[in-house]
Symmetry: C2
Subunit: 348 residues, 2 copies
């Protein structure tokens, strides 16, 4: 199993960085007073390798898939909710649909492997690998072929998006279990640390969730050792592998990606482990309320843009963070300079 | 000096709160998974005392004024920058103008007491009390009449705004000194704790700033004791008193207010000290990078919506937080319920 032809350029460029900072410092505001917004603008422009790169076209992709691990009765919502929520998203009733409409940002929902069959319809792409993964507590979630196909589908979505900036999210009953197992395998962390309540698994259900993830991690640990791709195949999901593929291809095309919460970050971690330079192209939208996410961000030295105790997924955190990045770029491009506004600079 | 006819109703209403939470819990998402957004929606609706209150009309008011304390040479930018930045805002080149335009939210700049004379023009209201306050390190910044007039102007702006939600910001070279002194007087905190770099006062300039604020606080401490209004008059500014008036009148009219950073929060603190029930109507937009702001928020038990290391003022933090509140209300009003979307609820 191999897909090693990603060519991801480092974002660092000292000379370009100096040029961008000089522009930022010439805008009509005290130096550095836009705080993180200035850093976001700088990072965006370094990704684009252009001092004057616009930010016009933004898009959210919400990838959906079902998970065999739900056989273990580890979620309070039945598996059919994945299918129902995809329809809800496409019809405009889900949180991500409502927020995207308000923000004027498009949302494309992608069936990567939902159990039920959809009709083709606007806003929904059908790229079903299979109707749900297998139960990773007992066997690998995906075959090699399935996992590579999911990566390729994601890769094509990103490369063909025509976007300046991508936001990614997911929907899939059971996928926080998959994400927890993936963190545990990739970071060698006890599942008891990476597991959280997900959509609301508490009490005996949470105990079952822990047991299922522990069983899966211990089953796949040896085979997945040293291979992030193999870890992804064994405990990931179609939507998670799709996101990993999107991230790798986006980074290759210099399209920065705004990563949502707990599940999307697990996909991002897999991408980073496969190609470390990918990290420069990622904006982590928010610190999720899902237990392990904040620890993960802290350990990796990542400062999320927002911290709103959200744990919904779908790309909702990405969308809110994209509004902030868009404002940062708007300031960069549209604010007056001290010279053209006739505003006095600092006195000596 | 007295203006005690504010009638501000408590926002708390247990029965309405239950009704709002029931609606939130019926939206197609795991219970509580929108995190702080759900709390923002709840608080907004409690302010409005209506389970179905819309959020349509939003507006930013940026109040500007000059400060006599700049005679002490405590800022790197000359006083004329207040005037120049007001023009820059009106012409669309300032950060707040750029962000408001992008967000589709109106911005009204108000001359509360800038040194130069403006022509009337769209987007600018001239409500000049006087061309700058007096040097509070040597005498009271405002006369009683001036301070009451500034409160009244602010009050009329808010009451006549026709807004569902107001964002407030300020511009005024020297006004972080004024705000520091106000925090020190109202909270009985050493000025060495409340002072920060403002637009960029460092080294000997920062030392002069500290000395000036300490002199002012010690000069006015006794007279201002027990009277927030007197503290405001003695060390505040026209724009700060205007914001205090806006906040009090907005709360009286059940219009919640999104408070910007360090300076606007000092105005809010004065309002809260005058009328404690005001606090229920306030959303604190962000934790500013200006030194004392985070400590203030923490001590008061306030969780800001954002934390982006911004320290620009103008209402820029308010604007970004209003985009979040708007999304929270959009979700509240437009998301499908489990019933109407045909999504299965939790299994037992």
């Amino acid at each position: 199993m191999a897909h090693e032809n990603w060519t991801i350029h480092p974002v660092a460029d000292a000379s370009l960085e100096r040029e961008i900072i000089a522009r930022l410092n010439n805008l009509t505001k005290p130096v550095g007073s836009l705080g993180l917004l200035e850093e976001l603008a700088l990072r965006y422009l370094l990704c684009k390798r252009r001092v004057d790169a616009p930010l016009s076209m933004m898009q959210i992709f919400t990838l959906a898939g079902d998970h065999g691990i739900t056989d273990e009765k580890i979620t309070p919502y039945p598996s059919e909710v994945t299918y129902q929520m995809v329809l809800n998203m496409v019809r405009g009733g889900a949180a991500i649909s409502v927020m995207c409409r308000k923000a004027g940002i498009g949302c494309t929902v992608v069936d990567m492997g939902v159990k039920g069959a959809f009709h083709e319809q606007p806003g929904l792409l059908i790229r079903k690998i299979a109707p749900g993964t297998r139960n990773f507590s007992k066997e690998p979630a995906m075959s090699e072929k399935e996992c590579l196909k999911a990566l390729d589908v994601g890769s094509q979505l990103a490369a063909g998006s025509g976007c300046d900036l991508l936001g990614i999210g997911e929907m899939g009953i059971g996928n926080t279990s998959s994400a927890s197992a993936l963190y545990s395998l990739l970071l060698d962390v006890d599942p008891l640390e990476t597991v959280g309540i997900g959509t609301g698994s508490v009490g005996v259900m949470l105990e079952r969730k822990k047991q299922a993830i522990m069983a899966g991690v211990s089953l796949h640990k040896k085979a997945a050792s040293g291979s992030p791709l193999e870890a992804l195949r064994r405990v990931g999901g179609f939507e998670i592998a799709g996101l990993t593929g999107m991230i790798l291809a986006a980074a290759e095309s210099r399209i920065p990606v705004v990563v949502d919460g707990f599940v999307a970050s697990a996909a991002a971690l897999a991408a980073i482990r496969m190609e470390p330079e990918t990290r420069g192209y990622l904006f982590f939208a928010h610190a999720s309320a899902e237990a392990y996410h904040e620890t993960f961000l802290k350990n990796e030295g990542i400062r999320p843009i927002l911290s709103l105790d959200m744990r919904l997924g779908e790309g909702t955190g990405s969308l809110l963070a994209m509004q902030i990045i868009a404002q940062a770029m708007e300031c960069y491009h549209r604010m007056a300079t001290f010279q053209n506004a006739g505003v006095s600079g600092k006195e000596e």
